[in-house]
């Protein structure tokens, strides 16, 4: 192991404590602003009334759930090929966050589905793909949990994530195909509440906030991951003694 790699973990751990602390508050304020904007300022939709407002949680969560999987697979790829330790940690720590986004997207999708379709769950292409994505995340997490040597586990889950990333478009395409066969065009209004800019700005804003939230949580989780990996090392003992 060359020194720069240890230094990398150490550098990250020792320099992000304050940043992650302040970012938590920052992101909370951003969230409150976004929720206020979405729930009270944005205009009512003439078709769906107020119920569309859950879009401001649902759509960014769904985007982030995919984006997190991409981050997990790409950092996993970097970790496998160039053996960069911090990438290993980022890769595996993405999994629970991504699963959380997926669950948020699923639950808000169900809540939104009730007024739109009259039922909580329809086997619609988006929700079904999202559900499968959740299973992909769960697969990565259970595989990680069942391998004792965690550094070994990350290699295996990185590989699974990469294969999963190749598969996601295929799965998505096939689910779309399946959906058009069974559902017809009834669901197309799902996330197109007449694209008025006053509605779209808060959505864009929430997307950015979700991204900042992702970065905040990933920094926190990577710090935990570094601690778990390096707790026996000298610099960690010195650092925690201070």
């Amino acid at each position: 192991m060359n020194i720069s790699k240890i230094a990398n973990l150490k550098f990250f751990y020792t320099n992000t404590r304050k940043i992650s602390y302040y970012m938590s508050f920052f992101v909370m304020i951003l969230f409150i602003i976004g929720i206020y904007w979405g729930l009270f300022i944005a205009p009512e939709d003439y078709l769906q009334g107020d119920s569309y407002r859950i879009m401001y949680m649902h759509v960014p969560a769904a985007w982030l759930s995919l984006q997190t999987y991409m981050v997990m697979a790409i950092t996993g790829f970097i970790a496998l090929v160039w053996k960069i330790k911090i990438m290993e940690i980022i890769s595996i720590q993405c999994a629970p966050i991504g699963a959380l986004f997926t669950i948020i997207a699923l639950v808000t999708g169900m809540v939104w589905g009730k007024p739109t379709w009259g039922t909580y769950w329809v086997w619609d292409a988006r929700l079904t793909s999202e559900l499968i994505l959740l299973f992909l995340y769960i697969g990565v997490m259970v595989l990680y949990a069942s391998i004792n040597d965690k550094r070994q586990a990350v290699k295996i889950t990185s590989l699974l994530a990469i294969i999963g990333l190749i598969n996601i478009p295929i799965i998505h395409y096939s689910v779309e195909w399946w959906n058009t066969l069974h559902q017809g065009p009834t669901v197309t209004k799902f996330d197109k509440p007449s694209a008025h800019t006053t509605m779209l700005y808060p959505l864009l804003y929430m997307f950015i906030v979700f991204n900042i939230y992702f970065i905040t949580v990933i920094i926190k989780r990577v710090r935990l991951g570094i601690y778990a990996r390096e707790k026996n090392s000298k610099w960690m003992e010195e650092y925690t003694d201070d």
């Binding site: 192991m1 040597d149 965690k150 990996r229 707790k231 026996n232």
Partner: protein, 210 residues
């Protein structure tokens, strides 16, 4: 024959965040017999496996002819035969079939030497027995018989002596000596020092947590 050098360069390995060994360096040249000794859990198997490229080191390199094995394209193993502590035998095959099957994984092997190899290790009478029917010691002999079938120069053996009786140990020692005379390299991990009467042995004592 071109000379061969295998060197371990300040190797360090962790498992489950625990240091197994650190800063192990040794190098083997033509005609060397390398014996890796040490108590259980000191990383003998891990070191042997990393020399074969099965396991990755956390620090340090394994060099074959001064080139890091990671940079050898697939030709790295064409000089090396590895026999692990698991015998690599399939229970559903007979002794002969197993040796035949295993020789398919070794480009240098000569199928017509299988009988000779079995005779050398005194297991010819079991040639048509299923592997599940013979004793552990005989299984070990079967897996060691690969050394005679293969024509490779570097032998890397993990616990080659387990289950072997004294006669078999002598047979094995003679085999290693012959290999040494031909300029081959043998690297073996063992508890039992079979090398008392051999010259030119390089010992590597692995203390736990060094």
């Amino acid at each position: 024959m071109k000379s061969t050098e295998i060197s371990v360069n300040s190797a360090t390995c962790y498992k489950n965040n625990n240091l197994i060994f650190s800063d192990v360096s040794i190098s083997y040249n033509d005609g060397d017999i390398g014996i890796i000794m040490g108590p259980n859990g000191c990383g003998k198997t891990t070191l042997i496996r990393s020399i074969c490229g099965i396991q990755a080191l956390d620090e340090g390199q394994i060099l074959l002819d001064k080139i890091d094995i990671k940079n050898h394209n697939n030709n790295y193993m064409d000089k090396i035969i590895y026999i692990g502590h698991k015998n690599s035998l399939n229970n559903d095959f007979s002794v002969y079939e197993n040796l035949e099957y295993l020789s398919a994984f070794d480009s240098s092997s000569k199928i017509n030497k299988i009988n000779e190899a079995m005779k050398y290790f005194d297991i010819y009478k079991y040639r048509n027995y299923m592997v599940s029917e013979i004793s552990e010691g005989n299984k070990k002999k079967v897996s060691l018989a690969r050394l005679l079938i293969s024509q490779k120069k570097v032998w890397i053996l993990d616990e080659p002596l387990s289950y072997l009786d004294d006669t078999a140990v002598n047979i094995f020692t003679n085999l290693v000596l012959n290999h040494q005379k031909k300029g081959g390299i043998t690297i073996a991990s063992t508890h039992y020092d079979f090398s008392k009467n051999i010259n030119n042995v390089k010992y590597l004592n692995m203390d736990p947590g060094r």
